[in-house]
């Protein structure tokens, strides 16, 4: 169980608002943090990681208190046992793929474990390459393996697929889902992509101007409830009732708009 109840005064270039979040999540959830740009998604992720300190509040993970402003507790990021995947991958350019992963594990590394994870994401042949010689997708795979190889309590991903080609992004999403299930991780992903959220996540938080607008299953949070007008056919309005829309039928138009493709039997 993860409990997060924090506030943080959030300053942007032209506006100020207070990030005010109160959440309880079950173990092994794959949770998406969705919202418009500048809504506080990444700040929330950084607060969980310990990279940003909230003004006040409380964070506990599986009974361990990570932050409590009243008791002056703030466990540093190094001791939170998290895995963080950055938007720019943040691979260490002075180390090869294998060295990046060895650095993450520390002194008592197991060569077979490194090979096992690299094999899982089809990177075994590139283990002696430097990050500069890898494609975006390969870098992202290394970043994910580096983050999970320490078996973290929580995996945090900050828009990990935003810079990737759609097909490669989807392949890596499959691998990520496999890793999440295999390691029974608690995963948070900041994402702008509704299709991706439906594919990966069983929980979704919609956040806007620092406040949680909606929280629950993706289908609930995106208002895909029955009787919602979502499509037209031959200029006739069609209302869907009790319809479950699979992520395969969703297509994102822009940050806030997505359409569902449906087949209507006449």
């Amino acid at each position: 169980m993860i409990k997060i109840s924090v506030t943080k005064h959030y300053t942007q270039k032209l506006r100020n608002f207070i990030l005010d979040v109160d959440l309880e999540l079950d173990k092994h959830d794959f949770t998406a943090i969705y919202g418009p740009s500048g809504s506080g998604k990444t700040t929330l992720l950084r607060i969980i990681a310990g990279l940003t300190t909230p003004d006040k509040g409380f964070i506990s993970v599986k009974g361990d208190v990570w932050f409590d402003s009243k008791r002056n507790i703030n466990i540093p990021i190094q001791k939170r046992n998290i895995g963080f995947v950055f938007q720019d991958y943040a691979l260490f350019p002075n180390m090869t793929v294998k060295e990046n992963i060895k650095y993450a594990i520390g002194k008592n590394y197991d060569e077979k474990l490194i090979d096992y994870f690299l094999d899982m994401v089809n990177l075994k042949n590139l283990k002696n390459s430097y990050p500069d010689n890898l494609s975006g997708g390969q870098k992202q795979r290394v970043a994910i393996v580096r983050a999970i190889v320490r078996k973290p309590k929580i995996l945090l991903l900050d828009e990990p697929f935003s810079a990737l080609d759609k097909n490669i992004g989807e392949k890596i999403q499959d691998e990520l889902l496999q890793i999440h299930k295999l390691l029974k991780l608690k995963t948070f992903i900041v994402s702008h992509d509704v299709r991706q959220i439906f594919k990966l996540c069983n929980k979704c938080i919609i956040i806007d101007e620092g406040k949680i607008k909606s929280h629950g299953k993706p289908s609930e949070t995106f208002n895909l409830e029955p009787s919602k007008l979502i499509a037209t056919d031959d200029n006739k309005k069609i209302f869907l009732e009790n319809t479950i829309i699979s992520h395969d039928n969703l297509e994102q138009i822009d940050e806030n708009t997505f359409i569902a493709r449906i087949v209507i039997k006449k």
Binding site: A49, L51, T53, P76, I77, Q78, K79, N81, I82, G83, F84, F86, Q87, D88, A90, L91, F92, P93, N94, Y103, A104, G106, R146, A147, R150
Partner: protein, 229 residues
């Protein structure tokens, strides 16, 4: 004459070598302190601009100002000077150790500023990724940040070395012009020129020019090869 020529060049390059080596160590320590995120330590946050200003000051101050105050601070009449003299037998004026110390102060920004700027230009996500993998700030600094800016460190060392070889004002003020002890090539050139001994002045000048050129060329060549790897 020939032996004085060699001894002057030896003092010059010895001074540059010691200054660069000492500054490399001091510089990395100061950069480590200055590049602290200091989110928690508010006092340090306020002191940071002061430290940055003090480090950069030698660039804008005339060498004579620094030389003057160093002579005052380390004079045998001052408490510090007396203590150092009695404990370590150290004297600033007219000694090789004295010109090394003065040179270290004067060349501080040439070593620190390029390294500090390079560290600040690295993406914050690199050190944050290292922290997220459980690594301490020191481990992150030594194993991630420093190797990522090794080219800048080589360049900073080369510039500090070259700058020290050409140092004139502060060395003359603190060390005087004692052959085999504090007489460096730049002072020797001025000395020979004043004595209208143009041949000797030219000999020093061309040697200094060629050695400095060859040294910098080698360092930049190595730097370029490292950056390709």
């Amino acid at each position: 004459m020939e032996s004085e020529f060699i001894s002057t060049l030896t003092v010059t390059f010895k001074l540059a070598f010691y200054t660069t080596s000492i500054l490399l160590v001091i510089g990395l320590i100061i950069v480590y302190i200055l590049s602290n995120d200091c989110q928690e330590n508010k006092t340090f946050k306020k002191l940071k601009p002061l430290i940055e200003t003090l480090v950069t000051l030698p660039i804008v101050l005339p060498p004579s100002v620094i030389g003057f105050y160093l002579l005052i601070i380390f004079s045998p009449r001052s408490k510090l000077g007396k203590l150092l003299n009695e404990t370590f037998d150290f004297s600033l004026a007219f000694t090789f150790e004295g010109i090394v110390l003065a040179s270290v102060f004067f060349s501080l920004p040439f070593m620190i500023n390029p390294i500090y700027n390079a560290i600040n230009l690295l993406p914050a996500s690199l050190k944050e990724a290292s922290y997220s993998l459980g690594k301490s700030r020191l481990t992150t600094f030594l194993k991630v940040q420093i190797p990522c800016i090794k080219n800048n460190i080589i360049s900073a060392s080369a510039i500090t070395f070259a700058h020290t070889i050409g140092e004139f004002g502060i060395v003359l003020m603190v060390g005087g012009n004692i052959p085999n002890e504090t007489k460096v090539a730049s002072i020797a050139i001025y000395d020979e020129f004043e004595s209208l001994n143009f041949t000797m002045a030219h000999k020093y000048s061309i040697t200094l020019f060629l050695l400095s050129f060859a040294l910098l060329l080698t360092i930049y060549f190595i730097n370029r090869r490292i950056s390709r790897i």
